[in-house]
C-alpha cells in the first residue's frame, strides 16, 4: 500500500516536472509556429532570441542592478524590437526569393548570434543571482506527501498560461490578429485588401520574440543556468514541439510543447535517463508518421 502511494507520488512529481518543462517548450514553439504561419519560414534564429533574452535580463540584474521584474519587462520589449530588426535585416530582403534562401539566412543568423553571445558573455555557464527573486519563490507552494511544487514553478506556469491566453485573444479578437490570419491564408490577396503585410509580419516577429525571450528568462531562473548554446538545444526541442502539434497552428504549438515536455520527463523517469532526448524525439517521429500534419495541424497538401 505504501509502495503504491510512493509510486503515485513519484508519478505526480514527474508530471509536475514535465508540465513545467512543456510549458517552456510551448512558449518557444509559439514563436516558430507564428512566423511559419505568416511567411512559411522556419526561423532558426528564434532559439537565439530565447538565449539573448536570458542573457539580457542577466546583464540587467547583475551589471545594471535593476530589480528583476523591471529587467523582465525591459528584456521582453528589447527582444520584441530585436525580432523586428531580425526580420528587417535578414528576412525582408529575401521575401520574394525562393524559400530556401531565407531558411539558410535563418541558420546563418542563428550561428552569428550564438557566436556573438559567446564573444560578449563567454562560453561558461552563468547563473542568475538568487537574491533577485523574493525567497518565497524557492519555497514549496504546494506539497502533497512527497510531491512538491515551488512558487517559482507556479510563477512559470501562470506566466505561460496568461501569455497564451493573451496571444489567443490577440489572434482572434484584434484587427492585427485577423490580418495575421488573413496573411497566413493568402499573402497577395491580403495585400490587395489593404493589409500592410510587412507591418503585420513585423508584429508577428515582435510577439514571437517577446514570448521566446520570456521563456529564456524563465528557464534561466528555473534551471539556474544560461549559456550561449542554450538556444540551439531548446530551439530544436521547441521546433520539434511545433511540428508535433502541427506547424502553423498556435494551439498545436501549445499542445506539442506539453506533450514533448511530459514525454521527455517520463522517458527519463521511467525508461532510461541515458536516452532521454532519444525518447522524446521518438514520440515526435511516431506522431508525425501517423499524422503528418501534426496533432492539430491543417492538411496543407504540397505546401510542405
Amino acid at each position: 500500500m505504501e509502495n503504491l502511494f510512493e509510486q503515485s507520488s513519484l508519478f505526480l512529481q514527474q508530471l509536475v516536472n514535465g508540465i513545467t518543462l512543456g510549458g517552456v517548450y510551448a512558449l518557444i514553439a509559439v514563436g516558430y509556429t507564428m512566423v511559419y504561419g505568416v511567411i512559411q519560414l522556419i526561423n532558426f534564429a528564434h532559439g537565439e532570441i530565447y538565449m539573448l533574452g536570458a542573457f539580457l535580463a542577466y546583464t540587467m540584474v547583475t551589471f545594471l542592478g535593476l530589480p528583476f521584474f523591471v529587467a523582465f519587462l525591459l528584456t521582453i520589449l528589447i527582444c520584441a524590437s530585436f525580432g523586428i530588426i531580425l526580420d528587417f535585416v535578414a528576412y525582408r530582403p529575401l521575401r520574394k526569393a525562393p524559400r530556401l534562401a531565407a531558411l539558410i539566412t535563418a541558420i546563418g543568423m542563428s550561428i552569428f548570434l550564438q557566436n556573438l553571445a559567446r564573444m560578449i558573455w563567454g562560453s561558461q555557464i552563468k547563473s542568475y543571482p538568487r537574491e533577485i527573486l523574493p525567497a518565497l519563490f524557492y519555497r514549496p507552494a504546494l506539497s502533497f506527501g512527497e510531491v512538491s511544487m515551488t512558487w517559482l514553478q507556479i510563477f512559470i506556469l501562470s506566466i505561460t498560461v496568461v501569455s497564451m491566453i493573451i496571444l489567443h485573444l490577440i489572434i482572434h479578437k484584434t484587427k492585427v490578429g485577423t490580418a495575421m490570419r488573413a496573411i497566413s491564408q493568402d499573402k497577395v490577396t491580403s495585400a490587395l485588401m489593404g493589409i500592410g503585410v510587412n507591418r503585420v509580419i513585423s508584429f508577428t516577429f515582435a510577439i514571437g520574440s517577446a514570448m521566446g525571450s520570456m521563456a529564456g528568462i524563465l528557464v534561466g531562473l528555473y534551471y539556474n543556468a544560461i549559456f550561449p548554446t542554450m538556444g540551439y538545444i531548446a530551439g530544436i526541442k521547441a521546433f520539434a514541439a511545433a511540428v508535433l502539434g502541427g506547424i502553423g497552428s498556435v494551439p498545436g504549438a501549445m499542445l506539442g510543447g506539453g506533450v514533448l515536455g511530459i514525454a521527455e520527463v517520463m522517458g527519463a523517469g521511467y525508461i532510461s535517463s541515458e536516452y532521454r532526448d532519444g525518447i522524446s524525439y521518438a514520440v515526435m517521429i511516431a506522431v508525425i508518421l501517423f499524422k503528418p500534419s501534426g496533432l492539430i495541424g491543417r492538411q496543407m497538401g504540397e505546401k510542405v
Partner: protein, 372 residues
C-alpha cells in the same frame, strides 16, 4: 582583452633575455567552453613552471615556450588538436589532455605518431594500458573510486547511496570503480541515473533519487553540471541527503553556490596538506595569480616540469623521451613534484595520494578527517 594584455606583458618580460632558440611544449586542455575554469588552472600552472625554467637558464640554454591548445574537453576537438601536434616536427612531447574522453580520443593519434604525452588530470582506468606513449602524474579512477567508497563508508557512515553520472569515460569509469568497492564494503547502491553534458534539467532523475531515500548521492561528473544538480535537488526539497563527488567537482563554481554547502570531493592536491616541497610553488602561485593553486595547476606544473626534465636529459627525440619517462619506474628515481613523487608503472600510470576537501561557509576547506 585582459588576457591578451597579460600575454603581451609576459612575452615582453621574457624576451628581455636573448634566447638562441625555443622549445615548444604544447598544453592541451579546455580553455574555453563549459570547462574553461579547469583550463585556467592548467594554464596558470604551466606558465608559472615555464617562467621559472626560463628564469634559471631554460632547457640547455633554450627557452621554453608553452603553446596553449584549446580542445574544449570535446573528443572531436581533441582529435583535431592531437593530429595537428602529432604532425608538427618541432613538438616532441605534449602535456595533456585534461578530460578522460578527450585523452582517449587523442590516444591513438599520439600512439601512431609515437608522440609521448603526459596527462596531468585524466583519470580513466583504461588510458595507460592502451598506449606506451601516454603517461600521467595523477591517480587512476580505480584508486579514486576505491578511496571514495572507503571514505563514504568509514568516515561518513553512509549505508545507502545512489549515483548520478554523466555519459562520458571519466564519469562512467569512476562509477564502476566506486560500485565495485562499495559492494565489498556492504554499501547498498539504490540506483544509478545518467545525464549528458548539454542537460540543464535534472529534475526527472532527481525526483527518482528522492523517492529512493538514499543517505548520500554520489555525483562523479564535472562542476558545471554538479552545481545545477545540487541546486535542483534542493528545490525539490531533497532533505537529509548528502552530496559528494570526485575531482571533477573540484572547482570554484561549486563554492559560489549556497546549495553546495557540505559537499565533499576527492582531490589530488591540497595546499595545506602538501609537503614542504610545495611551499615555494604555492607562494609563487599566490603572488602571480592572487589565489591558492588548485589541483589542475599543481599537476600541470609538475607535468611541464617532467616534460622539461625529459627534454633536458635526452633532447627533442620523441622515442628517447618516451624511454626516459618509462625509466622513471621506482620510488628512488621518482620526479619530486609539488603534488608528490611521480614514478610510473609499466603502463605509464602512477600511484598518488588522494585528499578530501569540503565546502564550509562558502569556502573550500580540507576535510577534518582524511583517510590514510
Amino acid at each position: 582583452m585582459k588576457r591578451i594584455l597579460s600575454f603581451l606583458l609576459a612575452f615582453g618580460l621574457l624576451t628581455g633575455v636573448a634566447w638562441a632558440d625555443t622549445i615548444k611544449i604544447p598544453v592541451a586542455a579546455p580553455f574555453t567552453g563549459q570547462l574553461a575554469s579547469f583550463g585556467e588552472g592548467v594554464k596558470n600552472g604551466a606558465l608559472l613552471k615555464a617562467e621559472e625554467i626560463n628564469a634559471t637558464g631554460g632547457i640547455n640554454g633554450k627557452k621554453v615556450e608553452i603553446v596553449l591548445e584549446d580542445e574544449l574537453c570535446d573528443p572531436k576537438e581533441a582529435a583535431t588538436v592531437a593530429t595537428k601536434l602529432a604532425n608538427d616536427p618541432d613538438i616532441s612531447i605534449v602535456v595533456g589532455h585534461l578530460c578522460s574522453s578527450a585523452t582517449l580520443a587523442s590516444l591513438p593519434i599520439y600512439r601512431t605518431a609515437k608522440m609521448p604525452a603526459i596527462s596531468p588530470s585524466a583519470t580513466n582506468v583504461t588510458i595507460g594500458k592502451m598506449s606506451p606513449y601516454y603517461f600521467r602524474n595523477v591517480y587512476k579512477d580505480d584508486f579514486q573510486g576505491f578511496f571514495l567508497a572507503k571514505y563514504a563508508d568509514r568516515i561518513k557512515g553512509f549505508k545507502k547511496m545512489a549515483i548520478f553520472y554523466e555519459v562520458n569515460d571519466y564519469s562512467m569509469g569512476l562509477m564502476l570503480a566506486f560500485m565495485k568497492e562499495a559492494k565489498k564494503l556492504g554499501i547498498k547502491i539504490l540506483g544509478t541515473e545518467a545525464y549528458t553534458s548539454d542537460t540543464t534539467d535534472f529534475k526527472p532523475q532527481l525526483t527518482k533519487f528522492k523517492m529512493m531515500k538514499p543517505d548520500a548521492l554520489f555525483i562523479p561528473g564535472y562542476a558545471p553540471q554538479g552545481t545545477l544538480i545540487v541546486s535542483q535537488a534542493r528545490s525539490l526539497s531533497m532533505k537529509n541527503v548528502a552530496f559528494f563527488g570526485a575531482d571533477g567537482l573540484d572547482d570554484d563554481v561549486m563554492v559560489k553556490n549556497p546549495d553546495a554547502e557540505g559537499l565533499f570531493v576527492t582531490t589530488p592536491f591540497l595546499p595545506d596538506k602538501a609537503g614542504p616541497q610545495a611551499a615555494g610553488f604555492i607562494k609563487a602561485y599566490k603572488k602571480k595569480y592572487g589565489k591558492d593553486p588548485n589541483w589542475f595547476a599543481a599537476n600541470t606544473y609538475d607535468a611541464v616540469g617532467l616534460a622539461a626534465a625529459a627534454i633536458k636529459a635526452v633532447g627533442q627525440d620523441r622515442e628517447k623521451i618516451r624511454e626516459y619517462l618509462a625509466s622513471i619506474n621506482s620510488k628512488e628515481k621518482a620526479y619530486d613534484g609539488v603534488a608528490g613523487k611521480t614514478y610510473f608503472d609499466k603502463n605509464g600510470d602512477c600511484l598518488k595520494d588522494a585528499f578530501v576537501k569540503e565546502i564550509k561557509d562558502g569556502k573550500w576547506v580540507s576535510a577534518e578527517k582524511q583517510l590514510q
